[in-house]
């Protein structure tokens, strides 16, 4: 299955025989090609992970730890009876609301901080503290103030997701290349035109990266809220099935929310790559 041998025929007189052999592409078989294909590697990782899980489940590590196959069985069952999609939808409500609010407000506040020193002085310290602090500790306070309804859960999602979105947007605006702003000024751009046509497009890859990180944090916030405030949606499936010792179902719920989160973040990453790779920019 070798593909390259220096041809010395009349048709290719320039394929010089003095070319050192070391620079030739090494002959490769279809098998090795397939073996190092990224998809193969990914499948292999998955196989190892799920195989290990199944093995640990069969040992068993603990009676409360079902294997992979058993868990998948529970996933199928809960998909069939509709309880899993139903729960995901319920969880999605505070998640989507909180993420939307965090995105709009977070980008606005971050961009504002990037543009004005006053806003920066006013708002940067709280957001820096928010990003560093374990905000889950605030959840009892939120419940005290807003009750156990949707508001408190949306707020939990917001306090998890917003800081990183704000700080990324702020940093992105601050890092606009000075010469691009100077260019805008020298070609008589108004302040507004410079912000809209230069600073925002320049900042967008980093703002987008902030959104992706914020989304990951929002998933954590949504599940935290359901586990710590009132069990609804996926949080309900987890706590309820734990309480009645239906461990496969409990793990099915956990598994499904992880899959959803990974798919969502991966989707955002794809969109990001699609937009910015065309422009030669990587976020």
């Amino acid at each position: 299955m070798t593909e390259v041998t220096p041809s010395l025929g009349a048709g290719a007189p320039r394929a010089s025989p003095t070319r050192p052999l070391a620079t030739l592409p090494r002959p490769r078989s279809v098998v090795t090609d397939l073996a190092i294909h990224p998809l193969t590697l990914r499948l292999l990782t998955a196989l190892l992970l799920f195989g290990g899980w199944e093995y640990a489940g069969r040992l068993p590590v603990s009676p409360a730890f079902p294997g992979f196959i058993e868990t998948m069985g529970a996933v199928a069952e809960m998909m069939a009876d509709g309880s899993l999609p139903q729960a995901l939808l319920v969880t999605l409500e505070p998640l989507a609301l909180g993420l939307a609010i965090s995105a709009f407000l977070g980008i606005a506040v971050g961009v504002g901080m990037g543009l004005s020193r006053t806003t920066e002085w006013l708002l940067a310290p709280p957001f820096i503290i928010m990003q560093a602090a374990p905000l889950a500790a605030l959840i009892p306070l939120l419940v005290f103030a807003y009750g156990i309804g949707l508001t408190a859960k949306v707020l939990v999602v917001c306090i998890m997701a917003m800081p990183v979105i704000v700080l990324n947007s702020y940093g992105a605006i601050r890092q606009t290349p000075a010469s691009l702003v100077e260019m805008g000024r020298s070609f008589l751009g108004s302040r507004q035109a410079i912000i809209v046509k230069i600073m925002l497009p320049s900042a967008s890859p980093v703002i987008f990266a902030g959104l992706r990180l914020g989304s990951a944090a929002a998933f954590i916030g949504a599940i935290l809220a359901e586990l710590l405030i009132t069990p609804t949606g996926i949080g309900d499936l987890i706590t309820y099935n734990q309480a009645i010792a239906e461990y496969p179902k409990m793990y099915a719920a956990i598994f499904s929310v992880i899959v959803l989160s990974v798919l969502f973040i991966e989707g955002l990453g794809r969109i990001e790559a699609m937009i910015f790779r065309r422009e030669g920019r990587t976020a």
């Binding site: 020298s186 070609f187 008589l188 422009e279």
Partner: protein, 265 residues
Amino acid sequence: MTAMATRERASTDDAPIIEARAVSKIYDGGTEALNDITLDFPRGKMTTLLGPSGCGKTTLLKIIAGLIPATSGEVRVSGRPVTGPGPDRAFVFQDFALMPWASVLRNVAFGLELRGVDQAQREAVARRYIGEVGLAGFEDRHPHELSGGMRQRVGLARALAVDADVLLMDEPFSSVDEQTRRKFQEDMLRLLSVEKKTVVFVTHSIEEAVYLSDRIVLLSRRPSRVSEIIEPDIQRGDDPDAIRRHPAYLDTVESIWQGLKRYLD
């Protein structure tokens, strides 16, 4: 000073287009960049600001551009004092300052876009200048797909597209490799002989200054003063390659080098 056509500020017949009067610049940190610079830039000529690195050449150029204010003194362009950027001046940036997210076409048309020229009109103008700088066919590419030399051609086309009287060029070739730079210099001379612009060109390359300019202003070390003005006695318009072999070219390069040497440690 030398046998060359070295003159004190020659008073030209027509009024200079740019007049710098006692311009000084002290930065906030206390760095004194320019000290009492008085200079005229004749209309339609290419004047080079030449001097050691960090001597304030770029500072003077940006003051003329209206991008930074002078601490004292005044710059007038066509008789009007400079208070900020204006439509009579266009800037070419050292690092090109192209928008990576925009196509070549949009980058070149951007000056007109900021001025509110409608899309069809500004793109027609941009296409013309993209052709003139030799980038026809690259309209829809993005800057990352171009070489350094090509990127600076985009920067030049953008400056030409706004049809300003004065082109201010800040070390435009410093991040372009040597071969590309020579070709670009030749092309630029050809283009500027058609366009009839007044050019102020900042460089630290003596060869580049002598090759390109009608007038060379030598600046001393920071705080900058005008140390000498040289008008190379070189016939332009002939074969561009011939200039580099011209004895006057070589002599001017040598005499400037002798003059600048004393500013180096």
